[in-house]
């Protein structure tokens, strides 16, 4: 079944010149459909903060992707059963759509976004503000909002299985091959011919 999953990763302050972190996300829908590897605009003061920045980039992307899928789906798919009324034309964010459970799971369920930062996960799933994250404001609240609204489910994945890992750092050959596998990229580089 077609399912949208995301991965995010951040590499905190690895650049000693300007101390900006690299944030990345990757979304798979049968294959890699959207990805980004970008130096973050903010200077993160902790790994947590840089992970959060990466979250937010991923959240922005997932909102767009889900909207796109929703648009397609409303006209593409017959309702799963006549019992459920067709989805209302209002914005799906306000009405999390559960009418077509047999569908991809893309919209009826939250989109899983994997991260390898346990602490970032804890923070997004908890309430309140601590000394460490008191300055995250918008990013923290946005991440919590989409988590609570059932749009995104931030989930832990060990670092070596995080497909976005290869978007934040240079990998050794073995890891890089793993990364290509996760991306579903077929061999046949230009040089192989």
């Amino acid at each position: 079944m077609l399912e949208l999953t995301g991965y995010t990763d951040a590499d905190w302050a690895n650049n000693t010149k300007d101390r900006r972190s690299i944030g990345s996300f990757l979304f798979l829908l049968g294959g890699p459909i959207s990805w980004q590897s970008r130096k973050q605009s903010i200077i993160a003061t902790s790994t947590l903060e840089s992970e959060y920045s990466a979250f937010i980039e991923a959240v922005k992307e997932v909102l767009w992707l889900r909207q796109l899928l929703y648009d397609i789906k409303t006209t593409q798919l017959p309702p799963a059963s006549a019992v459920h009324p067709p989805p209302s034309p209002t914005h799906w964010l306000d009405h999390p759509d559960t009418s077509t459970p047999g569908y991809t799971g893309t919209l009826s369920a939250p989109t899983t976004i994997f991260t390898d930062s346990e602490r970032a996960l804890q923070t997004v799933k908890s309430e309140g503000i601590t000394a460490r994250n008191k300055h995250f404001d918008i990013r923290l609240f946005k991440a919590r909002e989409v988590q609570r609204a059932g749009i995104v489910n931030f989930t832990f994945v060990p670092g070596e299985h995080n497909a976005a890992d290869g978007l934040t750092k240079a990998l050794v050959e073995v890891k890089h091959r793993q990364f290509l596998e996760q991306l579903g990229m077929r061999s046949g580089g230009v040089h192989d011919r």
């Binding site: 079944m1 077609l2 650049n15 000693t16 010149k17 690299i22 990345s24 990757l26 829908l29 049968g30 294959g31 890699p32 459909i33 959207s34 990805w35 980004q36 590897s37 970008r38 130096k39 767009w64 992707l65 909207q67 796109l68 899928l69 648009d71 397609i72 006209t75 593409q76 991809t104 290869g166 978007l167 934040t168 750092k169 240079a170 990998l171 050794v172 050959e173 073995v174 890089h176 091959r177 990364f179 290509l180 991306l183 990229m185 077929r186 046949g188 580089g189 230009v190 040089h191 192989d192």
Partner: protein
């Protein structure tokens, strides 16, 4: 020949204190070194260069055979992280040779094979050259050190040698051997001069960092002594001229302090005197520069050498410039090529100020080898360099006689090879351009060209279709009482296109000079949404999931279709138009429809297609203004390309018919190519996206198609941001590469995404390390 190899082998075995059982490895090494050693009978070229049409092999990786080598154990060997943490990370081995086919060293692992030892390849090695792996301290085997008073003598001779002439002088005391320390402010190293006893040759060998001065010495029969650390020496092989030290010399001399740059010249075809003169001339052009001019001319006239030298020196701005020139064919073009070629094997790449000329030279053969040698984890520079034993000089005589015969043969082969290469290069050029005729850039040029008739026909056809399309209303004359108009200029664009059958089509297109339009007067809004590539991939994913087909429709001359949104845009037709189309009487027209070049054309087109699709019952996606949907139909627009995804072929045919009733379109059938990406549907219904041909074209464009592939886009632990010691790279080239890679990273290659984004941070100020890394990405593709 056999004796040459044997002598070399014997020297290495003795120097390295190796058991005789290593003879096979050492013979292989001796042959390897011989191939990279210049020979007088080959006009002081190396056999390698002769075989490779003047392209020199890198000798930067040569190390002292028998020395201690620490082979880095790859992380993957360790089964667990804890093991990785506490086990030794490298293995003590001995250097026994090189691998001719890979960028690696042959090492001897003493403990493998249950103690009997084993040879293997490794490219990740740290050498301790002053330490012999067989347990003998090689320092004790050094030739006797020189009396210190001699050093001063040489010092004088050396620092006085601002004129190259001194190098061919024989008045340096024979049997003098020396080393001296120069107090170079920025790099401390010593200089050593050696003169061969037959007082015919001066031997200077220079090495900086772990560079190969030693190799030169080991074969040339000369006796440069470089006992000190980081030694700089210049060497000249016996009976020959200092040419071969070209490579090694260059490494450090570029940083010679003071105004007296070092010039080293060698000429075989031309008169030495002339070359010397011209060299000093070119040196004089850069007074105050710490420059090195190094010239080697074979068969070329000295004048050529001068030209190329001063040219490259002039290019290198400011201080510490190195010019390395080697002319073989005699023409300046050749010089450029071989200049690039020899840069590739310049040792100590990291510190060599070659950036400007290296990057800027098109057809830079050196790129590949240069980046290769940099990509290799070379031992850090400024490694102590032990001295080498001198060889029996009589061998050189025999060697010379043998190789004279070889040289004749090689010369014939070289000629044949270069002819073949020329033919090939011409073919490639033609093929790359895909255009056999230079397209004229103006009407005047078209009318002057050989194909005047064809171009007239092409313009006629274009004007005919524009008139048929009622693109404009003729203005018969400018009446004085109406308000003044500002006609916008127009011009012809000529293109030849190759048909599938190999014939050539001539196309002329009339474009409006949109840049003459004034905002607010001639146009208001120009924004037209363009689809994200992610949308394309999402559509492909959805089509895969539902088993839909995707067809590709191309709208012919899309921009000529939409009616223009204002009625006061006038255009002046290009000169000569009335000769081509007699029905045009007055050159100013009022536009009714958009033309290519018009600022608002893309927007007008988008609005037109948008309203058409909406009228056909499509709903526009809220998230992507180029995505339209309808039950079991999806349309993705990309300017004038339309992708139609459908489950029911009949519905698709209906839509196509409806679209075609409004616009002229080409139905390209199942999607194959879109935005330069190849899209193919596999047997399991899934779509794959590839930019194979795009990537191949960028490899060709940067001449990297023959470069050695690598398995990862970016070497781990590449310190991209520590480049203060590095030299600036050609920014133009860098930006081109990054830009070309960026499209691949955005289109179908997330695997290079990180590398490209990391490298693009340095676009404003690229250095050699970045350019090298960017080329590595190209090698990875």
């Amino acid at each position: 020949m056999i004796q040459t190899i044997n002598t070399r082998t014997r020297s290495i075995v003795i120097d390295a204190n190796l058991p005789v059982s290593f003879w096979a490895e050492v013979v292989a090494t001796a042959v390897y070194l011989h191939r990279r050693s210049p020979s007088t009978s080959l006009n002081n070229q190396t056999p390698y260069a002769v075989l490779h049409e003047g392209k020199e092999a890198s000798i930067a990786h040569l190390r002292r055979i028998g020395c201690v080598a620490y082979h880095r154990i790859p992380d993957e060997v360790f089964s667990s992280k804890s093991e990785l943490k506490f086990q030794p990370r490298s293995k003590l081995c001995m250097l026994i040779g090189y691998t001719p086919t890979e960028k690696a060293w042959r090492l001897w692992d003493f403990n493998a094979n249950s103690g009997s030892g084993r040879s293997f390849h490794s490219s990740d090695v740290i050498f301790v050259e002053e330490q012999n792996a067989m347990g003998q301290d090689s320092k004790s085997t050094n030739s006797p050190t020189l009396p210190s008073d001699f050093l001063q003598e040489v010092d004088i001779a050396f620092s006085g040698s601002s004129s190259p002439g001194i190098l061919s002088d024989n008045n340096i005391p024979s049997d003098s051997l020396g080393s001296l320390s120069t107090d170079l402010p920025n790099l401390s190293r010593s200089v050593s001069l050696g003169v061969i006893p037959d007082d015919n040759a001066l031997s200077l060998s220079c090495s900086q960092g772990g560079t190969p001065g030693d190799t030169t010495l080991s074969f040339s029969g000369s006796q440069g002594k470089a006992p000190g650390d980081d030694s700089l020496s210049l060497s000249r092989s016996q009976g020959g001229t200092p040419g071969d030290t070209t490579h090694s010399l260059s490494g450090s001399q570029g940083e010679t302090p003071g105004d007296n740059g070092l010039s080293l010249s060698r000429s075989q075809g031309g008169t030495p005197g002339d070359t010397t003169l011209s060299l000093s001339g070119s040196q004089g052009e850069t007074p105050g520069d710490d420059s090195l001019s190094l010239s080697r001319s074979q068969g070329g006239t000295p004048g050529d050498t001068t030209l190329s030298l001063s040219g490259s020196q002039g290019k290198a701005p400011g201080d510490n410039s190195l010019s390395l020139s080697r002319s073989q064919g005699g023409t300046p073009g050749d010089t450029t090529l071989s200049l690039a070629g020899s840069q590739g094997l310049t040792p100590g790449d990291n510190t060599l100020p070659l950036g400007s000329s290296q990057g800027g030279t098109p057809g830079d053969d050196g790129c590949a080898s240069n980046s290769c040698s940099q990509g290799l984890p070379m031992a850090p520079p400024k490694r102590p360099r032990p001295p080498y034993r001198r060889k029996d000089t009589r061998n050189a005589d025999i060697q010379r006689r043998v190789e004279e015969m070889m040289a004749e043969d090689a010369a014939k082969r070289r000629l044949a090879a270069s002819q073949a290469a020329n033919v090939f290069a011409a073919q490639v050029n033609r093929w790359l351009d895909g255009i056999h005729i230079d397209d004229p850039v103006s009407y005047v040029e078209a009318m002057d060209s050989l194909y005047q008739h064809e171009w007239i026909e092409a313009m006629k056809s274009e004007l005919g279709s524009l008139i048929e399309n009622s693109t404009w209303i003729p203005v018969n004359q400018l009446s004085k009482d109406t308000q003044p108009i500002h006609p916008i200029g127009s011009k012809w664009v000529f293109r030849t296109k190759a048909n599938a059958d190999g014939s050539t089509r001539f196309k002329a297109r009339l474009v409006i000079k949109g840049y003459e339009q004034r905002e607010g007067v001639d146009y208001d809004a120009t924004y037209a949404p363009v689809s994200r590539l992610a949308t394309l991939r999402l559509v492909l994913a959805v089509a895969t999931a539902y088993g839909w087909n995707i067809d590709h429709i191309d709208v012919i001359t899309a921009f000529l279709n939409p009616p223009i949104d204002r009625d006061d845009i006038y255009m002046e037709l290009p000169a000569g138009v009335e000769k081509i189309e007699p029905s045009i009487q007055f050159p100013i027209v009022r536009l009714r429809k958009a033309l290519y070049g018009l600022r608002q054309a893309p927007r007008l087109w988008y609005k037109a297609i948008d309203s058409l699709l909406t009228s056909l019952g499509f709903e526009k996606s809220t998230a992507e203004p180029n995505l339209y949907h309808k039950p079991s139909l999806l349309i993705l627009l990309y300017v004038d390309d339309i992708l139609l995804a459908y489950s029911d072929p009949k519905a698709a045919t209906d839509i196509k018919l409806q679209l075609r009733s409004v616009y002229k379109m080409t139905d390209l059938g199942k999607i194959k190519r879109f935005l330069g990406m190849e899209i193919s549907k596999l047997a399991d219904g899934s779509y794959t996206l590839s930019q194979q041909s795009y990537l191949e074209s960028i490899l060709r464009r940067f001449q990297m198609e023959k470069a050695n592939p690598v398995s990862t886009p970016l070497a781990r632990n590449t310190q991209l941001y520590e480049f203060s010691n590095d030299h600036p790279a050609d920014q133009h080239l860098y930006l081109q590469i990054i830009g070309a890679l960026m499209y691949a990273a955005l289109g179908s290659r997330p695997d290079i995404s990180y590398a490209v984004s990391a490298l693009s941070c340095y676009s404003h100020n690229p250095h050699t390390v970045h350019l090298t890394a960017a080329k590595r990405v190209l090698r990875y593709l």
